[in-house]
């Protein structure tokens, strides 16, 4: 059963890669790379919706913040504008502070101690 599910997932990912890199030829290469990262964030959203405990959702949100820094970096070289990396740094900082605050809240301490 587990091997069967693994095979279904492999087919899903392979189909995405074929559609992204072979079928649509007129999209620029940078945007194809961004498509792969958006596909990754789809998996993260699966974990956010499905996650059995609160800690799973906090982990997923933290990871999403780190992934978006990568998306901002590729946007910066796709559009040749360097301020996208500033946006990425600010987003990462916000996500880091948010993860720390949520972890403290989960631990049962108040936020000012």
């Amino acid at each position: 059963m587990r091997v069967f599910r693994w095979f279904i997932g492999l087919l899903f990912i392979a189909a995405f890669f074929v559609i992204n890199f072979v079928v649509f030829t007129e999209i620029p290469f940078n945007y194809k790379l961004i498509n792969v990262l958006l596909f990754c964030s789809l998996f993260i959203l699966i974990r956010v919706v499905k996650g059995p405990s609160v800690a799973d959702r906090i982990v997923a949100i933290d990871i999403l913040g780190i992934l978006i820094i990568g998306i901002c970096a590729i946007l910066a070289i796709a559009l040749q504008r360097s301020y996208f990396i500033d946006i990425g740094i600010a987003w990462g900082l916000q996500s880091f502070i948010g993860a720390l605050a949520l972890a403290k809240f989960l631990e049962g301490r108040s936020l000012d101690a």
Binding site: R2, V3, D86
Partner: protein, 167 residues
């Protein structure tokens, strides 16, 4: 010169350098704005960077470079380990939380050791007990539960270098 003043001066020049690297604009108004922001940073948060008086010598720079190279190599190995576990259809994991003893006492050294353990193959620091000098480490593929053996396997990779750098 007092230690706090020295630390504030170091923080001022470092934040000015970061400002120049980020903006890359060499006009007078930009530089004045950078100096004002760096001064505010140094006044409000400057006294925390340098805590102890230590002499600078060349050996510590060499150990720092060796630590960075070793850390990069372990990071790459860790990523291939994770890729192997994730791709394998049957998920070959054997997780558990084990104890690791450490000799480091200083806060900065303990923080760097915990961060290094988190980014190396199969391990994640869960808690640090400063009084007993014990780290609790979640290990994804437990090979032994004896504290001496785990200390040698997990902590021994970085402990000597960090001891040379920070203590």
């Amino acid at each position: 010169m007092k230690l706090e003043t020295k630390s504030r001066i170091v923080v001022f020049f470092m934040s000015l350098l970061v400002w120049i690297l980020i903006t890359m604009v060499f006009s007078i108004p930009s530089l004045v704005a950078g100096i004002v922001v760096a001064l505010i940073t140094a006044i409000f948060a400057g006294e925390m960077l340098i805590i102890t008086e230590r002499k600078f010598h060349l050996k510590r720079v060499w150990y720092t470079i060796e630590y960075l190279l070793k850390f990069t190599w372990e990071l790459i190995k860790a990523n291939f380990h994770v890729a192997y576990i994730v791709i394998h259809p049957l998920l070959p994991i054997k997780p558990g939380i084990v104890k690791v003893r450490t000799k480091l006492k200083r806060d900065s050294a303990l923080t760097m050791l915990a961060n290094s353990i988190t980014l190396t193959p199969g391990t994640l620091t869960v808690d640090v007990d400063v009084d007993n000098q014990v780290l609790y480490v979640h290990w994804i593929d437990v090979k032994s539960t004896d504290i001496e053996q785990t200390t040698k396997d997990i902590g021994g990779r970085f402990e000597k270098l960090l001891e040379e750098i920070f203590e």
